[in-house]
């Protein structure tokens, strides 16, 4: 093969390259489906997406590939998925914080990179209510004692979080507003470091998902004072909800599946059906149970309604925190 025939060869393959997609218009899915995980491996999305992928593969009869695109607290992956081709082969798994990015961008006067309208919700898989925990060096046994103490010494206690405007910061801000207390914020690089900070008494309070702190609660290192769910959580039945205690705050760490705007309806329907079957699979249920949470599956319509209400909470919390000076 000389140079000339190589050129011809590559021209031919370029032609094939342009025509191929039109030939491949067969039944969806005809090739592997990619889930974008916008957080580092082992994070809230990863632990749900991997078991989900394992049960989804036999249902859609195609491999499910999980592509990690971590960065900027989940913003990079979400933006990548928002601008992906809406063909159903690139889907996004994201958590509660997806609703806040546009609001934060507005706060800083930055161009908004994507909004909630750039995504079609497909299904919600889990929704873990947050719990407010203190470490074992704090005297408080009830939330009332805690709030009274916090009122006596404004900014006397420190709460840690996974980062500014993150999923652990937002509920704390909402609670502080509702209870009328002030605490200092210690942002860290993620959920793990936030937990480490409270265990080492570098912070005293943390609002965490039940799953992330259940082992420490069982060992007595952390004490749950209140739960952010609408009802008490089965994993911690003795912990009262914020609503029972008179604070109107609700917050969940949920994980849902999204498709980019413009994805054809038949493809969405296929994905909804597959998600419903996967969420009902015993293997998936068991894996979630082991993580300390139950499958809280919602189909598109209910998920959409839930997401709208939830986004309102998140946006309120972001505005409440506001832009920090300094």
């Amino acid at each position: 093969m000389d140079r000339r025939s190589f050129v011809i060869g590559s021209a031919a393959s370029a032609a094939a390259l342009i025509t191929r997609p039109s030939i491949a218009q067969d039944v969806y899915p005809s090739r592997p489906v990619t889930f974008v995980n916008p957080f580092p491996p082992g994070g809230a999305v990863d632990v749900v997406a991997r078991p989900l992928a394992a049960v989804l593969e036999p249902i859609i009869k195609q491999p499910v590939v999980i592509e990690t695109k971590a960065g900027a607290a989940g913003q990079v992956g979400a933006q990548f998925a928002a601008s992906a081709k809406p063909d159903g082969y690139t889907l996004l798994m994201h958590i509660v914080s997806i609703s806040g990015f546009a609001e934060v961008d507005k706060l800083f006067g930055r161009p908004v990179k994507f909004t909630r309208d750039d995504f079609i919700p497909i299904a919600r898989f889990i929704a873990d209510p947050m719990v407010l925990v203190v470490n074992d060096q704090q005297p408080h046994k009830t939330l009332k004692e805690f709030v009274d103490d916090a009122k006596k010494r404004p900014n006397g206690m420190i709460f840690s979080s996974s980062g500014l405007y993150g999923a652990l910061h937002l509920p704390t801000a909402l609670f502080m507003k509702a209870a009328g207390i002030q605490m200092k914020h210690l942002p860290t690089a993620g959920g793990g470091p936030a937990l480490t900070a409270i265990l080492g008494n570098n912070s005293q309070v943390l609002v965490s998902s039940i799953a992330a702190s259940s082992a420490q609660m069982k060992a007595g290192k952390l004490r749950a004072l209140a739960c952010f769910g609408a009802q008490r959580a089965p994993a911690v039945p003795n912990v009262p909800t914020m609503k029972e205690l008179g604070y109107n705050v609700e917050f969940y760490l949920w994980v849902g599946m999204f498709a980019p705007k413009g994805t054809p309806v038949p493809i969405i329907t296929t994905l909804r059906d597959a998600s419903r079957k996967a969420a009902a699979d015993d293997k998936f249920k068991q894996a979630m149970k082991n993580l300390g949470q139950d499958v809280a599956y919602l189909d598109q319509a209910e998920f959409k309604a839930f997401w709208d209400a939830d986004a309102k909470r998140v946006e309120d919390a972001v505005r409440l925190i506001g832009k920090l000076e300094g």
């Binding site: 580092p40 082992g42 632990v47 706060l107 500014l164 210690l186 860290t188 470091p193 082992a215 149970k289």
Partner: protein
């Protein structure tokens, strides 16, 4: 002692079961592979294999997944030594002297020393884990933001010993690295810094693209193939093993690296790469021939390679004893245990002694397997150097591209690598050493965050650094080192300029 012994007997009765042995072997094999391949680190390796373990019981799963982790620290040195691409972030320092050794025809020796050093360090780490994990974990928890700040300050002071170039040049490179490390979202206030509306820059510049660009690609740009014709040294079998002299030179660095790496590894949030940087600096400081560093010093391979391995074992201490992650990899392992219905936490050792001790015991076995796996591979991999350079460097470029892209699937990272390659080429021309730059880049986000976290905790009072015993101790060591170098500076003042000039000419 008695109880530890009984527990270990229980552990080995689990770890030596043929099926557990098989999964430990699989983990070590995959670990060696992902460690060797640039880009796919233990993090990606473990999460890719996680779904495959769903059908297994918890012990098999954790033994295999942990094998990937510590196994990757063995493999990481291979591409560093042979191709000057860090196979894994913690192997950056090995690029310098490891690759210099390879150019002198001592690739086999460097690989052997790396493998044996890793084995000794890994075994040392497991031994410490067996004996004193709970008290160590409590100690690790006391490392809050002020302690980090003090530790990283110490790291920066050690910088001065790290490079063969003059002090001013080293500090300039470190300042540039620290500056590059501030790119991205400021986690304290949410400001985007120097990110030009590229969301990929929001998390800052990755270590891998910078290190691969500066070390790997930069070197290739400055090496046209006509300069290396006939320069390829095909190693003979006899030359694969280190000489008695090389063993002697690596003994102490391995010992120091093991201890240092383990101590850094148990601190939550620290990176193994800091362990290998510090080890390199310490070795250069205590060496009688610091001028050999950068030109193929055996200690420059033995120390860092041991340190990153014992750091990876040290990272298991807080994870097993307290159930808290020390870094992203242990976070994945914790998630894996959770998915298998074993909640890692302070009660793990009592609730599931078979899992806990079986896992610990399997690490003794795993380290042996890795040694047995890696030493014969040395003979295979050095053959890579037989490939003529004209064919070898396209391969290296391709692996740089894949490696950098695979970390985050980000094309921006690949562009950063290319730019860093050009910068590395320029720095080489003007006699600057890129290693302090990489260290600055690693340290910058942690240093800035822990400093500002400390000030939040203390309401802006700097005294907090003197009120906490660990932080105070570390700062006293810093001051001691500064005084030490200041005295030696005054004593040698007369020949200082001569020395500087000599250093400047010798490096160019």
């Amino acid at each position: 002692m008695e109880t530890v012994f009984d527990s270990l007997v229980l552990g080995f009765s689990v770890a030596l079961r043929p099926d557990i042995l098989w999964f430990a072997f699989l983990g070590c094999l995959v670990g060696t592979l992902v460690g060797m391949l640039p880009g796919i680190g233990p993090l990606a390796g473990i999460s890719i294999l996680l779904p495959l373990t769903f059908g297994l019981d918890a012990t098999k799963a954790i033994v295999m997944l942990a094998g990937i982790y510590y196994g990757s620290q063995y493999g990481g040195s291979t591409t560093s030594i042979l191709l000057r691409i860090p196979g894994e972030a913690a192997s950056v320092m090995t690029c310098i002297d490891g690759n210099a050794m390879a150019k002198k025809g001592r690739a086999g020796a460097a690989l052997c020393i790396a493998a044996v050093g890793s084995f000794i360090a890994g075994t040392f780490g497991v031994l410490m884990l067996t004996l004193i994990a709970p008290p160590l974990a409590i100690f690790a928890l006391r490392f809050g933001p002020p302690e980090y700040t003090a530790l990283l300050t110490l790291g920066l002071i050690f910088l001065a010993y790290m490079s063969t170039t003059s002090l001013v040049r080293t500090l300039l490179m470190a300042a540039l690295g620290l500056l590059l490390g501030t790119i991205g979202i400021d986690v304290m206030t949410g400001h985007f810094r120097f990110s030009f509306n590229i969301p990929e820059l929001g998390d800052g510049i990755g270590i891998v693209p910078v290190a691969v660009g500066l070390f790997g690609l930069g070197e290739l740009l400055a090496t046209p193939s006509h300069q290396v014709v006939g320069d390829v040294k095909s190693p003979r079998l006899r030359e694969l093993l280190p000489t008695r002299e090389e063993w002697r030179q690596s003994a102490m660095p391995i010992a120091r690296g093991s201890v240092l790496g383990f101590l850094i590894g148990i601190i939550p949030g620290s990176a193994h790469i800091i362990a290998s940087f510090l080890s390199y600096a310490v070795e250069r400081r205590v060496s009688k021939h610091p001028e050999e560093f950068g030109k193929g010093a055996v200690a420059g391979v033995a120390g860092p390679e041991s340190a990153n391995n014992s750091a990876s074992t040290g990272a298991f201490v807080p994870m097993l004893a307290l159930g808290i992650p020390t870094g992203p990899v242990t976070a994945v392992l914790i998630a894996a245990l959770l998915i298998h219905g074993i909640p890692p936490g302070p009660t793990l050792v009592n609730d599931h002694p078979d899992v806990f001790w079986g896992f610990v015991a399997s690490m003794y076995v795993g380290n042996l397997m890795l040694l047995a796996l890696n030493l014969p591979l040395v003979g295979v991999f050095v053959n890579l150097l037989r490939v003529p350079y004209a064919y070898l460097y396209p391969l290296i470029i391709m692996f740089c591209l894949i490696g950098v892209y695979e970390v985050n699937h980000s094309i921006v990272d690949v562009w950063i690598m290319l730019i860093m390659g050009v910068i590395g080429y320029g720095l080489k021309k003007f006699g600057f050493d890129p290693a302090p730059l990489v260290l600055g880049l690693v340290i910058a986000p942690i240093l800035e965050m822990s400093l500002r976290q400390s000030l939040i905790m203390s309401d802006g009072h700097w005294l907090i650094f003197l009120q906490r015993p660990i932080a105070l101790t570390l700062l006293v060591i810093c001051v001691g080192l500064l005084v030490l170098s200041a005295t030696s500076f005054v004593l040698h003042r007369r020949d200082w300029r001569a020395k500087l000039a000599a250093a400047e000419t010798s490096e160019s």
